[in-house]
């Protein structure tokens, strides 16, 4: 294959001269991390609430939560992103104002909200599964001690359910980093987009793909290490597995 390898390309100046191509990749990395982390926090909060609601003995609340989950997990992420960014501002009352703010902020907000809702549906399913995997007696034990239902969730079921679902949540956490790559399609300059831009500007495709792949692997390793710590910290002594 007649391909000219040029690893020095990363240290070359970009055309506008303010940084190197490596600088581009790193700023993409930063964007990916910021976007994913903020979306994750939101997804975790939303997902926990919706997941808990799915298990409560109030029909309309559980029904609402079920509809929420079905809506956000049955439409491809790419389509959802497009809807958040291009369609909803045309329909919603605050849309015109939203379109006047800084374009990067627009892209970031739309991406974050989109990733957060998409992931929250998956988190909600995990939370629900975690709560359902608890012995039924746990809820009764909480109630029998005089806890109200919310107190039983707060002190008894949710803390234990979360410990049980740390491993599947780790997968979702990793997924949100990978899924954030989709946000380049509305122009957000995250890691994958910077990689592509590098190809556009230098035609050094393979160097760029390799660098981007390595950076994703790196993110993955850090996340796994962090989550292993979380798992260790929250492990309940004497309690073997979820079953």
């Amino acid at each position: 294959m007649n391909y000219n390898w040029n690893w020095g390309i990363f240290l070359a100046q970009v055309p506008t001269g303010e940084t190197t191509y490596l600088g581009w990749l790193l700023s993409g990395l930063q964007m990916t991390v910021m976007l994913s982390l903020s979306a994750w926090v939101l997804a975790l909060a939303l997902g926990s609430i919706v997941g808990v609601l799915r298990t409560v003995p109030v029909k309309w609340l559980a029904g609402f939560a079920a509809a929420y989950v079905e809506l956000f997990r049955n439409i491809p992420l790419l389509v959802q992103l497009f809807i958040w960014y291009f369609v909803l501002p045309e329909i919603l009352p605050g849309g015109t104002a939203f379109k006047q703010i800084n374009p990067v902020a627009q892209q970031f907000l739309a991406s974050m909200v989109c990733l957060a809702f998409f992931t929250s549906a998956r988190v909600a399913e995990q939370v629900r599964a975690g709560i359902n995997s608890l012995p039924r007696g746990q809820k009764n034990a909480g109630l029998a001690l005089g806890f109200t239902l919310p107190q039983t969730y707060r002190h008894v079921m949710v803390p234990m359910a979360f410990r049980i679902i740390v491993p599947p949540l780790t997968s979702e956490f990793l997924n949100i980093f990978k899924n954030s790559a989709v946000c380049s399609t509305i122009g957000l300059l995250e890691l994958a987009a910077q990689g592509r831009q590098l190809v556009d500007y230098t035609a050094q495709a393979y160097e760029s793909f390799i660098a981007v792949t390595v950076l994703y692997l790196l993110i993955n390793m850090v996340v796994m290490a962090v989550m292993r710590q979380v798992e260790k910290r929250t492990r309940v002594p004497g309690y073997i597995g979820a079953k």
Partner: protein, 225 residues
């Protein structure tokens, strides 16, 4: 207010259907190959032989670390050359569909193997002991006792993963292969009606995926009782 113009859709339906066929083909092949290869990986992972189990663990972790888009890109760029070198294919054979299928299958196998591993582990240990105690060999115990139960437990998760996979076929846009999403997008861009086409695509995806997950739920309830 946006003026919607849906006139592009009727004429594009044959093209969109071609795209849907590509989506379904890839999904089908990736499920079948992914489950077969995933089962082997899961059994390697659970085996007592260190190297096999490390290989399986490494494979799964690698594929789960990289965005699917990157995997597909790599496969699109490298696999065709590899296939050509190995099989001596005509250089102009269209390997896009094949390489997308290989990429998806290898990627999904990593996910399926985790599901299957959990499924095997969900079968009570006593079942293996009972099979052995009746004089069955490892192969017989797996085939007659463990895997049938494991798959039964896993059906909902396997199908859920299949739904995710079906949605993810939209990522084959990296190889300019027109799956359903890609076809909708291309028609939208060509005619300047992106919003309409993507809303249409979203609705179609929702209907298909929701129906599928409804079936999954039904199956699960049937299983549970």
């Amino acid at each position: 207010m946006y003026e919607y113009d849906w006139s592009s859709i009727p004429g594009a339906l044959p093209y969109l259907w071609e795209g849907m066929k590509v989506s379904l083909e890839i999904t089908f092949v990736a499920i079948v190959a992914g489950i077969v290869w995933g089962t082997l990986l899961a059994m390697m992972r659970l085996s007592n032989l260190g190297p096999l189990s490390w290989f399986a663990a490494g494979y799964v972790n690698l594929f789960r670390s990289v965005p699917l888009v990157m995997v597909l890109l790599w496969f699109f760029l490298i696999v065709p050359q590899f296939l050509r070198a190995v099989l001596g294919l005509d250089p102009t054979t269209d390997t896009r569909l094949a390489s997308a299928m290989v990429g998806f299958a290898l990627f999904e196998a990593a996910y399926y193997s985790e599901i299957i591993r959990a499924g095997i582990q969900s079968v009570p240990k006593g079942q293996v002991a009972a099979a052995y105690a009746l004089g069955m060999t490892y192969g017989q115990a797996m085939r007659l006792v463990i895997l049938p139960q494991a798959f039964r437990n896993m059906v909902p998760l396997l199908l859920t993963q299949a739904i995710i996979l079906f949605q993810d076929t939209s990522l084959v846009y990296v190889s300019a292969l027109a799956d359903f999403f890609g076809a909708a997008y291309k028609v939208g861009e060509r005619d300047g009606r992106l919003v309409e086409l993507l809303l249409f695509a979203g609705a179609v995806y929702f209907v298909i995926c929701y129906s599928a997950s409804y079936v999954v739920k039904r199956l699960h309830q049937g299983n549970g009782s």
